[in-house]
C-alpha cells in the first residue's frame, strides 16, 4: 500500500509535468513567433491544460464507418500504455536512507528503512525502456491502418519506417555509455557518473550524445522528423480520423514519450539526479538531499523539453528520402564508429 501511494504520486507528478509541457510548448512557440500564446484560462493561461482536457472529454467521439473497429480502439490504448510504462524505471532521485518509515499509520511503512526513489529496479533498465518504446510503434502503425484513410495509412507507414530506422542508431549510441558504466541499470549508470560533473558521460561520449538526441527527436516524431503527422501533406497523419479522448490519448502519448526521452538523455549523459555540490550542503541520504537532487533532475529534464520546443519553433521539416538517407547513411555509421572507438579506448584503459 505504501508503495502504491508512492507510485500514484509519481504518476500524477509525471502527468502534471506532461500537461504543463503542452502549455509551455504553446507559450514558447508563441514567443518565438511574436505572439502571446494561451492567456485566457486562469492567470497567465495556467489552467489551460485542464480546460483542454475537459474539452477533449466533452467532445463528440466520431468513429469512421469503414474503420476496423477493434484495432481502431486498440491503437490509442497501445500508444498511451507503451508511453507510460517506462515510468516505472525513472530514477527520480537518490535513495532516502536516513528515515525509518515505521511512523506511517496502519503499519504501512513497517520495516522500510531504505526508500529508493524508483518504482522498480530492474537489472536491464536501458533495454527495457528501448523495448517498450519500440512496441509503441504499433500504436501509431495500427492507428494508421485501421482508420481506413489514405492519409492515416501514409502516416502510419512513414512512422513505422522512421522508428525502425532510428531505433538502430539510438541503440548503438547507448552502447558506449553502457560500456563505460558497466551496467544496464539506470541507477547504476547514474552512480557511475555521480562523482563530479567531469565524469558525466556527455564528455567521453559526446558523439553518442548527439546521435542519441537526434534519434530521440525521430523516435518521438517531433520536428524536424514529424513526417508521420506532417500537416501540410497528410492532414494530421496517423491520427487524422481520431477525435475526442482517443485523439487526446495519442497527443498525451507523444508528450509522455518526449518526457521519457528527456529522462533517458539526462540519465545516460548528464548524471541523472546527481547535482554537483549538493552532497556538501545536505547530508547524503536525507530527505532535503533527495528533494534537492530531484529538483536538479527535473531541471535537466526541463532543459531538454525546452530544447524540443525551441527546435520545433526553429527548424523546417525533412523530406522523407532525406530522412532515410540521414538515418541510414550518416547517423548509423557515426553511432557504430563511436561504438568501435569506445571499445578500443575502454580496452586500452583496462589493460
Amino acid at each position: 500500500m505504501f508503495y502504491l501511494a508512492v507510485i500514484t504520486a509519481a504518476f500524477i507528478g509525471v502527468l502534471l509535468i506532461v500537461a504543463y509541457t503542452v502549455l509551455a510548448e504553446r507559450k514558447v512557440l508563441g514567443w518565438i513567433q511574436g505572439r502571446l500564446g494561451p492567456n485566457r484560462v486562469g492567470p497567465w493561461g495556467l489552467l489551460q491544460p485542464f480546460a483542454d482536457l475537459l474539452k477533449f472529454i466533452l467532445k463528440e467521439d466520431l468513429v469512421p464507418d469503414k474503420s476496423t473497429k477493434f484495432v481502431y480502439f486498440l491503437a490509442p490504448v497501445v500508444a498511451i500504455t507503451c508511453a507510460l510504462m517506462p515510468m516505472v524505471l525513472y530514477p527520480f532521485g537518490p535513495p532516502i536512507t536516513t528515515i525509518d518509515w515505521g511512523f506511517v499509520p496502519l503499519g504501512l511503512g513497517e520495516g522500510i528503512t531504505q526508500l529508493p526513489l524508483t518504482i522498480a529496479q530492474i537489472d536491464v533498465g536501458v533495454l527495457f525502456v528501448l523495448g517498450i518504446t519500440s512496441v509503441g510503434v504499433y500504436g501509431i502503425a495500427l492507428a494508421g491502418w485501421s482508420s481506413n484513410s489514405k492519409y492515416s495509412l501514409m502516416g502510419g507507414l512513414r512512422s513505422s519506417a522512421q522508428m525502425i530506422s532510428y531505433e538502430l542508431a539510438m541503440g548503438a549510441s547507448i552502447i558506449g555509455v553502457v560500456m563505460l558504466a558497466g551496467t544496464l541499470d539506470l541507477n547504476g549508470i547514474i552512480n557511475a557518473q555521480a562523482a563530479s560533473p567531469f565524469k558525466w558521460f556527455i564528455i567521453p561520449q559526446f558523439i553518442g550524445f548527439v546521435v542519441f538526441l537526434i534519434a530521440a527527436f525521430a523516435e518521438t516524431n517531433r520536428v524536424p522528423f514529424d513526417l508521420p503527422e506532417a500537416e501540410t501533406e497528410l492532414v494530421a497523419g496517423f491520427h487524422t480520423e481520431y477525435s475526442a479522448l482517443k485523439f487526446a490519448l495519442f497527443f498525451m502519448a507523444e508528450y509522455v514519450n518526449m518526457f521519457t526521452v528527456s529522462v533517458m538523455v539526462t540519465v545516460l549523459f548528464l548524471g541523472g539526479w546527481y547535482t554537483p555540490g549538493l552532497g556538501r550542503i545536505f547530508e547524503v541520504g536525507s530527505v532535503p538531499f533527495a528533494i534537492a537532487s530531484h529538483v536538479g533532475f527535473l531541471g535537466k529534464i526541463c532543459l531538454f523539453l525546452f530544447l524540443y520546443i525551441w527546435i520545433r519553433g526553429t527548424l523546417p521539416r525533412f523530406r522523407f528520402d532525406q530522412l532515410m538517407n540521414f538515418g541510414w547513411k550518416f547517423l548509423l555509421p557515426v553511432a557504430l564508429a563511436n561504438v568501435i572507438l569506445t571499445i578500443v579506448i575502454v580496452y586500452f584503459l583496462n589493460t
Partner: protein, 189 residues
C-alpha cells in the same frame, strides 16, 4: 500470475491461427511475445525478457506489420487444394502436444531447488560471460551467417543485369538536354 500470462499467450496463439486477416494474426503474435516476455520476467530472467520484447515484438513483428500494411491484403479464401496438409498438421500438432506433456512430466519428476536469482541464466552478466567465453564459436558462426543473409538480400534486390542508376540518370539528363536544344532551335526558327 503464471496462469494469467500463460492463458493470455494461449488465447493469442489461438486467435493467431484462427484469423484469416494477416494483420490480426500479426497482432496476436505480438500478444504472444509480450506475454512470453512477462513470463520470463517472473522467472527472474529480465535480460531475456527485455530482448524478447526488443527483437521479436519491437523489430521483427513491426517489419511484418509494415509489409502487411503495404500490401493491404484482402481476406484469404479458404484453400481447398491442400486437404492432405490438414492431416499432416494435425499429426505434427499431436506430436508437439505429446512432447509438451513429456516435458511437464520430466519437470515434475526432477527435484525442486531454490535458485539464487543473482546467478540464474537470465542475468545480463551470466549471459554475456557464457556467450563470449563458452559459446564464442557458435556466436561467431551465427554472426557470419547473418552477414551472409544480408549480403544475399542485397544481391537479390540488385539484379546483376540492371543498369547502374548513375548511368540512367545521365542518359535522362542528356535526353532532356537534347530536347531543350531542339526546342530552342524551334523557337529560333
Amino acid at each position: 500470475m503464471f496462469y494469467l500470462l500463460a492463458g493470455f499467450a494461449i488465447a493469442c496463439a489461438i486467435s493467431l491461427v484462427i484469423h484469416r486477416n494477416p494483420l490480426y494474426s500479426a497482432i496476436s503474435l505480438v500478444g504472444v511475445f509480450l506475454s512470453l516476455s512477462c513470463i520470463y520476467f517472473t522467472l527472474a530472467a529480465p535480460f531475456i525478457a527485455a530482448v524478447q520484447v526488443l527483437i521479436y515484438a519491437g523489430a521483427i513483428m513491426v517489419l511484418v506489420v509494415f509489409v502487411i500494411m503495404l500490401l493491404n491484403l484482402d481476406d484469404d479464401k479458404p484453400q481447398t487444394r491442400l486437404r492432405y496438409l490438414y492431416a499432416v498438421g494435425g499429426a505434427l500438432g499431436l506430436a508437439l502436444l505429446a512432447q509438451t506433456f513429456f516435458i511437464f512430466y520430466a519437470v515434475m519428476r526432477t527435484p525442486q531447488e531454490e535458485v539464487n536469482t543473482e546467478q540464474t541464466v537470465g542475468n545480463t552478466i551470466s549471459i554475456g560471460r557464457a556467450m563470449y567465453t563458452e559459446y564464442l564459436l557458435p556466436v561467431e558462426i551465427v554472426g557470419v551467417m547473418l552477414l551472409m543473409a544480408i549480403v544475399g538480400a542485397v544481391v537479390l534486390v540488385r539484379k546483376l543485369n540492371q543498369p547502374q542508376l548513375e548511368l540512367v540518370v545521365e542518359e535522362e539528363l542528356e535526353r532532356r538536354h537534347e530536347e531543350e536544344e531542339i526546342d530552342d532551335y524551334r523557337i529560333a526558327l
